[in-house]
């Protein structure tokens, strides 16, 4: 870890993401500085267009900021080329999305195996890793099923298993319960909390204040691209 990191899992310093739409400059993220320690469960709250998903994408290395810097486990994402960023997404973080983003033509097990293929994990090692990840989300009996044969809650569990199979340090969840009913949403949140208890840092984007209050240990509220409150700000 570098000095710039101070041991943080994620540290964002004056991060900005501005882009031009016609004559207007849209400030999706504007001078955001946050620090997330290892093992934290942080919820980023905000209404639609507040910049929380953009912030998530910047931390995931899917997008590059127009200003500021983001450090993940001490590494400056701005200094990584696209290959290094891909490796970072493969080995350091796991991602789950509101719409699950499973590949419909693959079975549950094949979807979970996909990150292992991308990370070039040895073939003989993969079945055990896939089995372990599927067991962790309690879907062992459905491993041969395709996503269309699973319920929304089950699909999100598969997405969680896929995000965890490479044993990431940080889990980024973008509205993980947004497409689920209340009961199923709670089950998924309980699972995410369980994952957090195993030591994985959780950064969750949500607009559901109640769930954030119930499961996250820290809430950051964003509005118009800026952080307006940070429950855990030192």
């Amino acid at each position: 870890m570098t000095n710039a990191n101070n041991g943080a899992a994620v540290r964002a310093e004056h991060v900005a993401k501005h882009y031009r739409m016609g004559d207007t400059v849209v400030r999706a993220v504007d001078d955001v500085s946050i620090e997330i320690q290892p093992g934290e469960f942080v919820a980023i709250l905000g209404s639609s267009g507040s910049g929380k998903s953009t912030m998530m994408n910047l931390i995931a290395g899917l997008d590059r900021p127009t200003g500021g810097a983001i450090y993940a486990l001490g590494e400056d994402l701005a200094k990584m080329d696209s290959g290094a960023l891909a490796k970072y997404r493969s080995h350091t973080i796991g991602m789950v999305f509101q719409s699950f983003n499973l590949l419909p033509r693959m079975t549950l097990a094949e979807n979970v195996e996909l990150p292992l293929r991308l990370a070039e994990v040895a073939r003989e090692e993969r079945p055990a890793r896939v089995k372990e990840a599927i067991e962790r989300v309690h879907l062992t009996s459905r491993s041969g099923h395709r996503p269309t044969e699973l319920s929304g809650g089950e699909q999100q569990r598969v997405a969680l298993a896929r995000a965890l199979v490479n044993k990431p340090t940080i889990l980024l969840a973008d509205e993980p319960t947004g497409n689920l009913d209340s009961k199923t949403g709670d089950e998924i949140m309980a699972l995410i909390a369980e994952i957090n208890q195993s030591g994985v840092t959780i950064l969750m984007v949500t607009h559901e204040q109640a769930r954030a209050d119930k499961y996250a240990r820290r809430s950051i509220v964003m509005k118009d691209g800026k952080v307006v409150s940070d429950g855990g700000r030192p």
């Binding site: 696209s82 490796k87 997404r89 493969s90 999305f97 033509r105 293929r117 991308l118 073939r123």
Partner: protein, 460 residues
């Protein structure tokens, strides 16, 4: 991502849009097939012409004459009548080597040259064949045993001579039809008589003290017919002529038949054969056609004139290469069109799989992985298209062969293989198919790799 994983994912993706990808692959296959079919026709025709010319004995033979004979030339053997005039200048004559007589010693010396499989004189005899007491004036040729394996007697009815000194004969079909109009093939196993003028050497005393004199007496030889051929294999004598009956060369030499130019040998330096006199010309058969040139040079260095039709063979290859290139370009055009199909298919796939590309990138796929995935898909289509194209091209070749042979059969002509798909053509087709597919996949793969993952994930 490892190549095996890439290939598995690529094949899975191709199966997803099975119809579209199949049509694209068929497009490549048709392009490759047209190329294979055209080139196989070119190769087949070249093989056919080459094999016919090789079996004719002209392209793997060197005609040797003596420099002592000022009128030396091609095809003027002991038999004379089959020979023509001089057949080209004696290029590359090594004037520092003393000219040598073309005698029995020279024949043995020539046989020792590496890659030479046979050395024999051309023997053609004017005879009268008798069958059922009916005479048939016939030109007879001595056939060396080495002609058996050259393909010159492919398609023979019956068999080749059982031994180099067998009292056997092979008929040309026209003579056979004359002897037995209703059932020429029934002649096989029958006996015929060969009436000819035998040359008998005279002792100098009997010839008024002049050496080399001879007398001519009628002689008859009994022969058993063992085979019938469609046309005269010119390798039989190493030259051209209206030969209608062939006998083993060894038998022909023992006949001591009088020749038209025997009169000249009496007056000049001799043009006899075994028994101390000189040959007018000898045919040197080379086992490997590529060694003809070196054998020819060696013969010239030994003090003889030598000539082969090698240069004509080289021109033939050039003509066929031009033919292949010209018609192959049409096949190439079909491949270019097919490659545009690949571009179109993969660009469509990018649009359809935009979200999937975003997911892959979110899960850790690098730009290179995405590029390689699309590249592999293009390559897989190329491999399958190549396989399909080779099979289709081979099939088209078979159809051409079948149709041509039906036509040839109706024309009472012997069958022929007009197309050939050698292993190098299969390999070439695969290389071209895969190369074209990969080039076609360059743009879509590059475009897929450059997709912004955030935008791709938002894509519905």
């Amino acid at each position: 991502m490892k190549m095996r994983d890439l290939t598995e994912l690529a094949m899975r993706n191709l199966r997803e849009a099975a119809l579209r990808n199949s049509l694209t692959t068929i497009g490549i296959g048709v392009g490759v097939a047209s190329l294979v079919a055209i080139l196989s026709l070119g190769v087949g025709l070249q093989d056919l012409v080459s094999s016919r010319l090789t079996s004719s004995g002209l392209f793997n033979a060197v005609i040797v004459t003596s420099r002592l004979n000022a009128r030396g030339g091609f095809g003027r053997g002991r038999g004379g009548p089959g020979g023509g005039g001089a057949f080209g200048p004696d290029d590359g004559v090594n004037t520092s080597v003393l000219p040598r007589a073309l005698d029995e010693d020279a024949r043995k010396d020539l046989a020792q040259i590496p890659f030479v499989v046979d050395v024999y004189p051309e023997i053609r005899i004017n005879t009268e064949v008798r069958y059922n007491d009916t005479p048939y004036p016939t030109m007879v040729s001595g056939v060396p045993q080495s002609s058996k394996g050259t393909g010159a007697f492919d398609g023979i009815e019956g068999s080749f001579f059982s031994a180099p000194d067998a009292q056997e004969a092979i008929l040309q079909i026209e003579l056979a039809k004359q002897l037995a109009p209703t059932n020429p093939n029934g002649l096989i196993g029958q006996q015929i008589s060969l009436n000819y003028a035998e040359r008998q050497e005279l002792a100098p005393a009997a010839a008024g003290g002049i050496s080399g004199g001879f007398s001519v007496v009628p002689h008859q030889e009994q022969l058993r017919i063992v085979g019938i051929v469609e046309s005269e294999p010119t390798s039989a004598g190493g030259g051209f002529g209206q030969v209608r009956l062939m006998i083993p060369l060894e038998v022909a030499e023992k006949l001591q038949a009088a020749q038209a130019n025997d009169l000249r040998s009496v007056l000049g330096n001799g043009a006899g054969g075994p028994g101390g006199s000189n040959y007018q010309s000898l045919t040197v058969k080379v086992g490997d056609p590529t060694k003809v040139e070196s054998v020819e040079t060696t013969i010239k260095d030994k003090g003889f004139n030598a000539f082969s039709l090698l240069d004509a063979s080289k021109n033939l290859s050039l003509i066929f290469s031009v033919f292949d290139a010209f018609f192959g370009s049409f096949g190439g055009l079909a491949l270019v069109v097919a490659s545009l199909g690949i571009v179109n298919t993969l660009v469509m796939a990018i649009l359809e799989r935009r979200r999937e590309i975003g997911i892959l990138k979110a899960l850790g796929a690098s730009d290179g992985d995405v590029k390689m995935l699309f590249f592999t898909e293009a390559g897989c289509m190329g491999v399958m298209g190549g396989l399909l194209g080779v099979l289709l091209g081979w099939g088209i070749g078979r159809v051409i062969n079948f149709g041509a042979n039906v036509y040839l059969h109706r024309q009472n002509l012997p069958g022929a293989q007009l197309t050939a798909v050698p292993i190098w053509l299969v390999a070439l087709a695969f290389v071209i198919s895969i190369s074209v597919s990969l080039v076609a996949g360059l743009y879509p793969a590059s475009r897929a790799a450059k997709l912004n993952p955030v935008e791709a994930l938002r894509y519905e």
